[in-house]
Symmetry: C2
Subunit: 205 residues, 2 copies
């Protein structure tokens, strides 16, 4: 496998993986770049080119074996394992994230939920007991947690990010509507509903 | 403007728009495909090519005027106006979405919040009074609402989508972790935190 796959290609692989999982759920065993492309609105040529970075996934004309390809993608994306995730923020949004059922079998498991509000500490959200943000660094370090989700108000998000990074977190999913400043080597993704809505309005009459 | 811009290009324009807005907030007036590319992890050649679909946005060497380019992108994406949005689901997640402050000045305004639970009807979330899902069709039709967000449990999401589409909605942002079946001409985007996390694990040691 080459050491540098373009970021833009990496960013599409989870989309392919989700489409493959859905095809498998629908009972398919084999698919094609054409079928994937039709589902995803991406050209089949682009899909073949993206997948060719990893080599040997399929042959033109015979299609892709879904189970094999999704296994390969999981390995490339390092989600053939289960990452522990720390969630910071136990308000409306954090509670919803803690209860979200879409993480299962996709490489992630929330193991700790933190909040700053004294009245929330020790309360439960589903299976979690809310922990004080004062113990964030210790817990993240001791459990060697590398991934966190931030679901706190915008004005607290940078401080939370700083604490997470100091404790060793290297990947942050940020739900707060602000841009985080982070050092080299820390990855940030944003959940931004507006981006998704702006991707649809173009097509509306 | 050509009538068919590739979907993949359209999907990147909101990302460019957000980056431009952030540059403007930071006090910049001019930017370059190189600077945008560095911020976004996309090649500057790709950015120039994407923006060339619309013509006349910038000249090599002189950079892009941020205010002009963002204005043009807003027009292309049809977010130079404010779309009314219906939100269905007033649980943890729906409440968080209703209170989200990231919509302002980006083309969208939630105007109605619906829920199926009788005990929630008439209660307030921020500025909204929760309306019964039984009045969804009437309200959506009367207000000519074309965009909706679904924040209900997975097992209710398809029924809600069907009702929205019957009432005239043509773009749906779905927070529920299921794939919606929708007719031709209805656009769906998914908020899926796992996709974003899988985009980061590749880079973790």
């Amino acid at each position: 496998m080459p050491s540098t796959i373009p970021d833009i290609v990496i960013s599409r692989l989870p989309i392919y993986l989700r489409a493959l999982d859905r095809l498998a759920q629908e009972g398919h065993e084999v698919t094609s770049s054409h079928e994937l492309g039709k589902r995803l609105g991406i050209s089949s040529a682009q899909i073949r080119k993206d997948l060719s970075h990893f080599g040997g996934f399929g042959k033109q004309g015979t299609g892709y074996k879904i189970a094999f390809l999704s296994g390969q993608l999981r390995q490339v994306l390092k989600v053939d394992r289960e990452w522990e995730v720390a969630l910071v923020g136990a308000g409306d949004l954090g509670s919803a994230v803690a209860r979200y059922r879409g993480f299962t079998d996709r490489g992630f498991r929330i193991t700790h939920v933190f909040d700053a509000a004294p009245e929330k500490i020790g309360k439960r959200i589903g299976e979690f007991v809310i922990e004080p943000i004062s113990s964030l660094k210790k817990v993240v370090q001791e459990n060697n947690i590398k991934i966190a989700m931030i679901a706190v108000p915008a004005e607290e998000a940078q401080n939370v990010a700083d604490a997470l990074i100091e404790a060793g977190v290297r990947a942050i999913l940020n739900y707060a509507p602000i841009n985080l400043k982070t050092p080299e080597g820390v990855h940030v993704q944003y959940i931004d509903p507006v981006i998704h809505m702006q991707r649809m309005t173009y097509y509306l009459p």
